[in-house]
């Protein structure tokens, strides 16, 4: 930029202070001379420095002044003085405390100091003045002289003052030491040459209604701006990034023709476990895995046929062709309330209420595990899940749906491996290729609901394809967060500045 352009781009504040900087000048003087507000001068010198027109040297100056207790002591006397004052004769410790009107803390400090200095002697809790003490009673103490001098610049302290200060610094809030910044400002070479350039004083600053209507712009030039100057950041109102991810994944399911399922977070064990053919002695139903609700019980489904068929399927397989688990099913276990451990309870409830086939359903929702929280563990997190109820469905279709689903999520390459889930057959683990991080990652599970799950609910054996995955891991992966806990720590800075979901 040529020097005239620089001159023309100066803000009126900059133009106001620049002529005042002839030789080195302190910030304080500059403010005084300019008759501007301090904050405006500060802005102007900042801008001028950014443009390399001026240089600023900052120096810290140590200023020693009185602290809260110092102010008090200046007014009422230091605790040691106040004790000396009441010691006209030997007194007990308690008597001194009362007569000197000191609080416990001050009293202890005062006594301590006098003892250290050898001004008093204590015998059987009786205090008497020593010879030195008697002398000092009439004389000003070094500390008293010192605190009267404050505030004082650290550089101006004598050696004796420094010793006194060291003693006083140890006492609570007696002394306060602050570093005060002093700025010195001078012109750079660019600044020197700039000060010789005639500045067009007749530039338009802000565009106002008057400027527009008065057609000033026809006659004058606009002052040009420094486009790089700092603009304070503003934050938009915003959805949480987990909500953004949920919106995104919901859209994928909706586009594939799936209907959303919603349901309660608290479920009876019947829906969370029994209907999913999870035996009543399965470890997942124990206290250390699942959250149970205290003191409340649920009810079995209104349609008794459902709970009867579920009981049969557990005990001996009922009419499903299964061997069942071979134990006596206890309805009491089924009535225990839990915070749902998976959204699959919504899927089986959907089956129980199903009116038409084929049907496709999905859900995104919170599930719970009784875990202690640390960086890699959460006790509540989101699960994404979908089912297809179709009399003609088979395992190849399941893989077809999965392939399409992952493609929509941005994963072109998917591999399938045998896995085990208690309520599905042909259980599958899905492994997708993460192009960004160039590696295969396990990303979800799938299978076909077992006849022991489907038949008690639908009354017949219809293939129900099911798949799903956790949400938080992929959020972690996408944002490069350190631990799962960061997802829900609600740090406002993070929430405000986090980039939006793809």
């Amino acid at each position: 930029m040529d020097i005239q352009d620089i001159a023309n781009s100066l803000h009126h504040l900059e133009r106001a202070i620049l002529p005042l900087i002839k030789k080195e000048i302190s910030f304080k003087d500059l403010v005084e001379k300019s008759k501007l507000k301090e904050v405006n001068v500060l802005r102007a010198i900042q801008w001028l420095q950014d443009k390399k027109i001026i240089a600023i040297k900052e120096e810290g100056k140590e200023i020693i002044s009185l602290g809260i207790n110092g102010e008090k002591s200046l007014k009422e006397g230091l605790p040691e003085r106040r004790i000396l004052d009441v010691l006209d004769k030997d007194l007990s410790l308690d008597e001194i405390e009362k007569e000197a009107k000191l609080d416990k803390n001050e009293f202890n400090i005062g006594i301590g100091i006098l003892k250290k200095k050898g001004f008093i002697e204590i015998k059987d809790k009786i205090v008497s003045l020593s010879a030195g003490g008697k002398k000092s009673k009439k004389k000003e103490l070094l500390e008293e002289i010192f605190i009267k001098k404050l505030p004082i610049e650290g550089l101006k302290l004598s050696e004796e003052d420094k010793l006194t200060l060291n003693g006083l610094r140890k006492r609570k809030e007696l002394i306060s030491i602050n570093i005060i910044k002093e700025r010195t400002i001078w012109l750079t070479e660019l600044g020197e040459s700039l000060s010789k350039v005639a500045v067009d004083e007749n530039l338009i600053e802000g565009v106002t209604k008057e400027v527009i209507l008065g057609k000033e712009w026809d006659k004058k030039k606009f002052r040009s701006y420094n486009l790089d100057s700092f603009a304070p950041r503003v934050y938009p109102g915003k959805k949480h990034f987990v909500s953004q991810a949920i919106d995104y994944i919901k859209k994928v399911w909706l586009e594939m023709g799936f209907k959303e399922m919603k349901g309660n977070l608290v479920q009876t064990s019947f829906w969370n476990f029994d209907a999913l053919f999870t035996a009543q002695d399965h470890p997942v139903r124990e206290l250390h895995d699942t959250f149970f609700i205290k003191g409340l019980k649920g009810k079995l489904p209104k349609d008794e046929r459902i709970s009867n068929r579920v009981r049969m399927v557990h005990e001996n397989g009922g009419d499903t062709g299964s061997l069942g688990w071979g134990y006596k099913w206890d309805p009491k276990e089924a009535l225990k309330l839990v915070l749902r451990t998976h959204t699959t309870c919504l899927s089986v409830k959907t089956l129980a209420d199903l009116k038409n086939m084929p049907g496709k359903f999905f859900s995104v929702g919170k599930v719970f595990r009784n875990e202690t929280v640390d960086w890699s563990h959460l006790f509540e997190f989101n699960q994404v899940e979908g089912i297809v109820v179709d009399p003609d469905a088979n395992f190849k279709h399941l893989l077809g749906y999965l392939k399409q689903y992952y493609k929509k999520l941005g994963y072109e390459d998917v591999k399938f491996r045998p896995a085990f889930f208690p309520y599905t057959s042909q259980s599958t683990e899905c492994i997708v290729y993460d192009k960004e991080h160039k590696k295969w990652i396990e990303f979800g599970g799938a299978g076909i609901f077992r006849p022991e799950v489907v038949m008690p609910l639908l009354g017949k054996d219809i293939p129900v394809l099911a798949w799903g995955q956790g949400l938080e891991r992929s959020i972690l992966n996408y944002y490069g967060l350190k631990g799962l806990r960061e997802i829900y720590d609600n740090d406002l800075k993070r929430l405000r500045e986090m980039k939006i979901w793809r």
């Binding site: 586009e255 959303e260 608290v266 250390h288 489904p301 006790f379 022991e452």
Partner: protein, 547 residues
């Protein structure tokens, strides 16, 4: 899932073929096992809970060898008859079942002993549910005198030297002082008698499911023949575990002998005759979308260590997960190879539909975002201190029975406390702060199937140096204006708010929100310093009003 460490070289010897690490890396996962890693001498795998038969080198090798086509089909395990007897007498109702077997001609060394102990331990944890369903015991046959008796004895009369102890202990002492006793005494809690095995010389052999005798119940390198028992509550699971142990021992080179277990009826144990299950080829084809013939079905089942004859699958007795023909179809799918299925996308048209709640909540969210609010997400679980004490309030709430975190042990019943907590964690960030959350809350309600009513509320708070009631009322007003609803504010008392500056919002005669300036006492309780205004609005009810 249990993780096991396999001796790679021994495993490959059992499999009967040299297999490269590359092939192992590819094939082991396709058999349905989670492979952790393979190195020079070891293979570390996680075995799914449906395959406890793969928890030993021998069982794993058996499955892998079939899957790779090296040795397919049912394995033959001959069971010879011994004349040994196990009497069953006065057993506990809570621990009624016993199955037994003898395996002879074994050669143990440190490695084989490690394997069998690992197998026993993993079976205890998984299939026997940490011994609650049963326990397994293995004894050197030469140390015990047949016949033996499975019975029960009062704890004071039980006296023997347990494993890992250098002195005799009574049953009571074992439960109180021995590590195994302390760990497992809860299983038969409250019983004054305990199950015991006693041999013909009245020597106590063990106290299942806790511990064996050191004297007669410890296998070492010199042991050649063993007696194996499983006792517990679930006969089926016990037989399966016994079969898994003795077939592993047989694969080590042992010969299996049966015993007679004398319940009311004589039971010959073990039973290794294959289990039979009807299987239609058409059923398999329909489920898998394949066109297999019965010869292919046979071939695939043989690859899974089974067989197929006359529309019937023959299943070895150490397999535990074949409950239904669907499981056989699953086995066939694995044998066919998941990688060999050609995916199909069926032409089934359905109409996608978002739930009404989601649609409505999203609209509310859009309005709030437009008003400059940041959404936060807090946990559904909280504690009484946050929910009530810090809020100077007394709302009812539902507790959890068993939370591992004292800070998260109750279900939240209102939302503002969660937002106050967020503010208290963000004191060092820029003000003004305007945050909201739409969240589920819980309330006891006997009419619901789950005994609990869940509803959704919107809560928002604003804090900065000059905030006051007007600012939060503007938000409320803006929301209701955009929803096309009119409202009134009734003056109320609420301990969390400043008296005279808090109201309930009424729409169509329904009280659906609180609005007000938070009390400085509450603000201080949260260690905050700036004024806070808040609104909590029941969206579930608002939806009803609107529909």
């Amino acid at each position: 899932m249990p993780t096991i460490t396999l001796d790679k070289n021994y495993l490959l010897k059992l499999v009967g073929k040299k297999i490269s690490d590359k092939e192992l890396n590819e094939r082991i996962p396709m058999l349905g096992t989670d492979l952790d890693k393979i190195d020079k001498d070891e293979i570390i795998v996680e075995v799914y809970p449906n395959r406890p038969d793969m928890l030993s080198e021998q069982g794993f090798a058996r499955a892998l060898s079939s899957f790779l086509g090296i040795e397919t089909g049912l394995r033959k395990y001959e069971v010879k008859r011994s004349n040994s007897i196990c009497r069953v007498d006065k057993t506990l109702k809570s621990w009624p079942y016993v199955v037994t077997a003898i395996v002879k001609g074994l050669e143990f060394n440190d490695e084989r002993i490690r394997e069998i102990v690992q197998l026993q331990e993993k079976l205890h944890i998984t299939h026997l549910r940490d011994r609650r369903k049963g326990g397994i015991g293995i004894y050197p046959l030469d140390k015990i005198a047949m016949p033996i008796t499975f019975t029960s004895e009062s704890l004071d009369n039980i006296n023997f030297r347990p494993l890992e102890s250098n002195k005799e202990m009574t049953g009571k002492e074992i439960l109180e002082n021995h590590d195994a006793g302390k760990k497992y005494k809860h299983i038969l809690e409250g019983e004054d008698k305990y199950p015991v095995f006693i041999d013909a010389n009245k020597v106590i052999m063990s106290m299942p499911p806790i511990i064996n005798s050191h004297t007669v119940g410890k296998v070492d390198e010199k042991t050649r023949d063993v007696f194996v028992e499983c006792t517990g509550t679930d006969l089926n699971a016990l037989q399966q575990c016994l079969n898994i142990v003795i077939t592993s021992l047989a694969d080590m080179g042992g010969e299996i002998y049966s015993m007679d277990v004398l319940y009311k009826d004589r039971l010959v144990s073990p039973n290794l005759r294959p289990m039979k299950m009807k299987l239609d080829v058409s059923y398999v084809n329909k489920l898998l979308g394949l066109k297999l013939g019965s010869r292919e079905v046979k071939k695939f089942l043989q690859k899974m260590g089974m067989d197929y004859e006359n529309n019937t699958a023959l299943i070895p007795r150490y397999r535990v997960n074949i409950l239904h023909p669907v499981d056989l179809a699953g086995e066939i799918a694995i044998a066919h190879g998941y990688e060999n299925f050609v995916e199909e996308m069926p032409d089934v048209s359905t109409i996608g539909e978002e739930s009404k709640e989601s649609v409505f909540f999203n609209k509310i969210m859009d309005l709030l975002v437009g008003l400059g609010f940041t959404e936060v997400k807090t946990y559904h679980l909280t504690n009484e201190n946050n929910l009530n004490k810090k809020m100077e309030n007394e709302v009812k709430f539902i507790s959890l029975e068993n939370s591992l975190n004292a800070d998260y042990s109750i279900l939240r019943s209102w939302l503002i406390p969660s937002l106050m907590e967020v503010l208290s964690k963000n004191k060092h960030h820029e003000y003004p702060q305007k945050i909201f959350e739409i969240g589920t809350l819980f309330e006891e309600d006997g009419k619901e199937e789950s005994g609990i009513k869940e509803f959704t509320r919107l809560s928002l708070v604003i804090t900065h140096n000059k905030v006051d009631f007007t600012e939060v009322k503007q938000v409320l007003d803006s929301l209701f204006c955009n929803l096309g609803l009119s409202y009134e504010i009734e003056r109320v008392k609420h301990n969390s708010f400043i008296e005279g500056r808090v109201g309930r919002v009424v729409v169509n005669g329904r009280k659906i929100a609180y609005i007000g300036e938070v009390h400085p006492k509450v603000i201080s309780n949260w260690d905050l310093e700036l004024p806070v205004v808040a609104l909590e609005l029941n969206l579930s009810e608002l939806m009803e009003v609107l529909s």
